[in-house]
Amino acid sequence: MGDRGGEEAGAGRLRVHLREARTGAGWTQAELAGRVGVSRKTINTVENGVFVPSTVLALQLARALGQPVEALFTLPGDELG
């Protein structure tokens, strides 16, 4: 999955592609935060791999962006078709 870019979170156990998905949708961090109901710094820390979100927040982010959660968060070595 390393060739898809993204930030690593949780000591390299999770690769985060939230920033790519958000910018692809043309949203700012504040817009995404407003739609999901969290603070902008939460979105920022998730994007930068500093904070690993709960399953609920990951699903909310995926729903807001209209993408499967597997497109936003992947494990190292995973490949999407």
Binding site: S39, K41, V50, F51, S54
Partner: protein, 167 residues
């Protein structure tokens, strides 16, 4: 206060309040820690007088400090208050804030545990004279309250600074 059409405060206002909150926690914590150490050393200074400091003096000087400690805990771990709608409170106390609070509580737990272990060791070694207890207890409480509050404030501050850099 800028308000949205729905009647709630704008999310920008919520973010600004979140920034003010960690600054307030930091200020409260520093003053609490300084007052706590000052109180401990005051008790130590009075310990030389006959019979040590009176109970009334301990209560009189310690009560404002204890109330201030509760205020520190309130601004650190309490909810944002009725001024904000339920949705805004969810943003203020979202997952990141909750995670930072859990980290802060863990730090406080280990600080208190280490302090109690140190105190217990001193007691076993026969060094825990009443004067040591009088000084150690305020210092232990100061560390147990100020430590977590400081950790929460620093974690929130770092997240805010980082969000500002990448925003």
């Amino acid at each position: 206060m800028q308000r949205q059409a729905g009647g709630g405060n704008s999310l920008e206002a919520v973010e600004r309040f979140a920034q003010r909150r960690w600054r307030m926690v930091l200020l409260f914590t520093i003053t609490f820690a300084v007052a706590g150490l000052n109180w401990a050393f005051q008790l130590d200074a009075y310990a030389g007088s006959v019979g040590g400091p009176s109970r009334a003096r301990i209560v009189m000087t310690g009560m404002p400090w204890a109330v201030w400690g509760l205020a520190v805990l309130r601004v650190t771990f309490g909810s944002a208050g009725p001024r904000w709608s339920a949705r805004e409170r969810r943003v203020l106390d979202d997952e990141l804030a909750a995670a930072n609070r859990r980290t802060a509580v863990a730090v406080g737990y280990w600080l208190l545990l280490a302090g109690l272990a140190g105190l217990g060791t001193a007691a076993v070694a026969g060094a825990a004279a009443p004067i040591l207890l009088r000084v150690a207890v305020p210092i232990l409480v100061t560390a147990g309250v100020a430590g977590p509050a400081l950790v929460f404030s620093v974690l929130q501050q770092r997240a805010d600074v980082d969000a500002g850099r990448h925003g």
